[in-house]
Amino acid sequence: MRVLLVDDEKELVSTLAERLSFRGIDAEWTTSGAQALKLLETEVFDIAVLDMKLPKMSGLELKKEIQAKMPAMKFIFMTGHGSGDDFRAGTAETGVDYYLIKPVKIEALIERMKEVLRKN
């Protein structure tokens, strides 16, 4: 499985990618929606793990952009903000199962990714 990680926290997203690669999962990372879209032009991924709050383009907007180009792409969202309206909007859009609150346990993330891919 090939995973695209997008989070504005470079330290977080790069470490996460490295840890996934320890577990045999091929992961690429970017820190903005624009970079992600650029990367997607050249590479193919099975699943995208997006932060909800990205600079300029939010996680949900990015999802829409990607889906327009690659309808088969699966998504999982990560957020530090699990409250009120954000939470309701996020879970309504993505489903509560695909909405993980930081900090995320790596095992839980892998489990969830496998689940999403299996379901579809």
Binding site: L12, F22, G80, H81, G82, F87, I101, K102
Partner: protein, 571 residues
Amino acid sequence: MSLLEKMKPKFWEFRENTDDPSNFRHIWLLMVLLTLLVAIAPLVSMTMIDNNVSRKSAESEILLRTSRLVSNTRRSVSFFLGERKAALKFVVYNTSFNELNDPMELALILESLKKGFGGFVDIGVIDASGRQKNYTGPYSLEGVNYSGEEWFREVVERGNYISNVFMGFRQVPHLVVAVRHDLPDDSFYVVRATLDTERFNDLLFYLEVSGQGDAFIVNQEGMLQTPSRYHGKVLEKISDPIPSYSEKTEVFERKNVNGEVLIVGYAYIAESPFILMIIKQKDALMDSWHTTRMEIAGFLMVSIAIIFFAILGGATYLSNKIYVLEQNRDAILHEVEYSNKMASLGELAAGVAHEINNPLAIINEKAGLIKDIFTFKEQYSKDEKLMNIANVIISSVERCASITRRLLNFARHIDINIRPLCLREVLHEVLGFLEKEAEYRSISVSVEVPDNMPQLESDRGKLQEIFLNLVNNAFVAMKDEGKLDISVKQESEDSVAIIFMDDGCGISEENICRIFEPFFSTKKKAGGTGLGLSITYGLVEKMGGTIGVKSELGKGTTFTVMLPLKTEQKE
């Protein structure tokens, strides 16, 4: 419950300034006292004024009536005596001296007087020298010389005479009437007649004297001239003093030896030694006035009682209404204030949690990476110390994460948001907040949820708030090493009971009915707002449930929260 108990306002037991900041007790008292004053004072003063006026009028009426009676009776007595004198005068004018000296003629005259007027006993003719020239009657008094007698001198001097009453030979009271008649030769003679007093007495005897009254005639020495009901027999001296001379009828009040007030009316009867007296008992005369007064007093008392209860009831009803309204208003205001506070607190918590979550995630990933490196690269995998350090960092991050998650959960549930949830989880989440305190104070907390418990559809945040409040209260009530048992029971098909049983200090009976009232707190000095349980109560109601409490002072308290298994989402 007595009537007065019912009329006691709800806030009566409150201590001033602490439980009753709006001073309802003071307002109620002021309202009752002022209304009572303006309602009862005019009533009482009107009754008192009327009492005085009517008493004075009754008294003056009595005096007036007595005075009228005395005047009328005096006129009757005067007329009676005048009539006898006139009869004798008629005799002397109609009959010559010589004819009067004829015993047969005199006997005829006596007979005529007896028949015409009645009461004449005898008649005598006395010449200027005082010698009785002729006499007809039951005694033989012919030839008796009266020249030395007082009465003879008086009749010679004044032309007529009426004697005091005296006992005759037959022990019958009599009085004497005498008139002088002048002859052409400057001489004169006197005609004297004795009358029995029966007709005289009848004048007074048949008099209707009200108020246990007594009417009699006394002479100027105080000797009774006619029989009296209460003052003695004829010719006995009365104990009362003789009133001073007055031409007119007089009426006055005086007290007798028993202290009873008497109304005394009297009149001196002209050209006689007689004083007519009528004595009445004032109390007896005032009887009807007293009866009316008692009726009015009774009516006044009943009116005052009705006014009193009406005012008390009205004031209590109104102030209770105002009190309840104020309580509701305060509760709503504070609920709003509380929700606002909770909302901003929620925002703050969410903001903090979010800000912390990102660096926490980096720490988590970095520590995870260290661990991964130690796990996946052989040259490091034997260094257990470093591995432990990484594990400690990761578990600490996990602890921080659970705190930020709770904060986010808390913030998320400001509005009602019904979801299926597991009661056991919610209870454990709540206890998570108080874990450390329980640990420090060695409080043991047990949670018992049956395994076959159906899933509850409710608002997680609200439930957390309710449970947190109840657990917090229990912790405050308990001493160190206390015990809190939380159990869940399915009460019916669609309701569940969550029971919080502590072994704390308990709640007194007088406080237990007020614990859900806003601002009621036994911990005010320790900073309690008195809002916790009232908000809990409001939340449980909002969730469609009920909350009950049982407590025994010194033994502990049990709160039971009954919730529907499915809470309706209200818009």
